[in-house]
Symmetry: C2
Subunit: 228 residues, 2 copies
């Protein structure tokens, strides 16, 4: 039996390359998808499901943390510190960064890992373009790993692998092409669910990565900026 | 302005004593309640709300992690490792221990702490009667604290306090009585939502704690075992 690896998979390019990499390493991939009411949630879920189908992944865990994300959302819409139950019941959906998001995602992954006996968790975090997020640095993942060893059953030996931690977008594209990752199924756009917009930060970063790596991005765009 | 402390409050006795202790220490208490579809969830929520009202707490965050808890539930009902989306959609509600539960709870607390600017998180974990759970030991909380420092904004300085970590139930009762904690509003029973059953593990532990401390438990019981 192959060893199990839980891969955090958003439906985007980085995590899809991670899943391809895990398969190439000989792992059986268990796919953890977490959504939190973001605007393109359904389109990302579609990408995630199509990618799981192509990879023939059958261990899938789909978690909704929208109540948690409301913490971050409230902070955006309300500069005072008053966060009450009432705010959380509102229908406003936050699209923002959730503080300490990776710790929340990894904690869910570790819970699952303990139950199914996986010893490897893979997250497509990138330190380079992490916009300075503290929880995208390998030093953070090392501390998380140390905490796991003390908080799980003895013998669990759960490790966090970050194969893309030192890569830039062009290197991720190159690795994805080499691994024949289904990049045509991935979804990166923040603002549209039909064709990728081509102009949001996420689209721009992706298009530049493909251009720098010397490949054509296989997905359709509403427009491709001139500078690409 | 008083410093903020997020207290993980289940509606039970230990966390209520923690909240009383935090108030006595001069904190403004922010109450985090997490439910996950346990049998007595509504009764616990009632206790939690009544306790918040008595303490005049107005910063309240109520989080549902039932999808996460389904991970643990599946492991109880299915000894194979196949956990699929289908299982998670089932209406079966798990009542079991969630592996790595405290890391999940604390991660939510840290997200909230970052947003509201709290530097203290208080959890009523007890190492003594932790049934050997690895995530109830102070050594685990120390590792978690180190991880927080690396995963949050510089200057967040969020700490985890565990005022009951070395106490037994009788000492917790004594502290609660000294602090005039509203123990009459707390709910500990695992199996009933009317009167506390008096015979489940949680009731037995509580009743023994009161007996050993030399106080009468102010809540009503369906029966009180002879050995108390």
């Amino acid at each position: 039996m192959k060893p199990l690896a839980i891969v955090l998979m958003s439906g985007g390019m980085d995590s899809t390359v991670c899943a391809s990499w895990a398969l190439q390493q000989g792992f059986e991939v268990c796919a953890l998808h977490v959504h939190y009411g973001q605007k393109t949630q359904e389109r990302e879920a579609q990408a995630f499901n199509e990618i799981c189908a192509v990879f023939r992944i059958d261990k899938i865990l789909d978690i909704d943390i929208s109540h948690l994300a409301a913490i971050g959302g409230s902070s955006l819409t309300d500069s005072t510190i008053d966060i009450t139950k009432a705010n959380l019941e509102s229908s406003e959906i936050p699209t923002s960064y959730v503080p300490f998001r990776n710790a929340n995602l990894l904690s869910i992954a570790v819970s699952w890992a303990e139950v199914i006996g996986a010893q490897t968790i893979i997250i497509g975090a990138v330190e380079e373009d992490g916009s300075g997020y503290p929880d995208c640095r390998r030093i953070f993942f090392d501390a998380f790993e140390a905490m796991i060893q003390l908080g799980t059953k003895p013998g669990s030996h759960i490790q966090i692998q970050t194969p893309l931690i030192a890569s830039d977008k062009a290197e991720i594209v190159t690795l994805g092409m080499e691994l024949k990752a289904p990049l045509e199924l991935t979804w990166s756009c923040y603002s549209s669910s039909e064709k990728a917009c081509g102009v949001c930060d996420s689209c721009a970063l992706r298009l530049r990565g493909f251009a720098k790596a010397g490949y054509e991005d296989p997905i359709e765009y509403d427009q491709r900026p001139d500078y690409i």
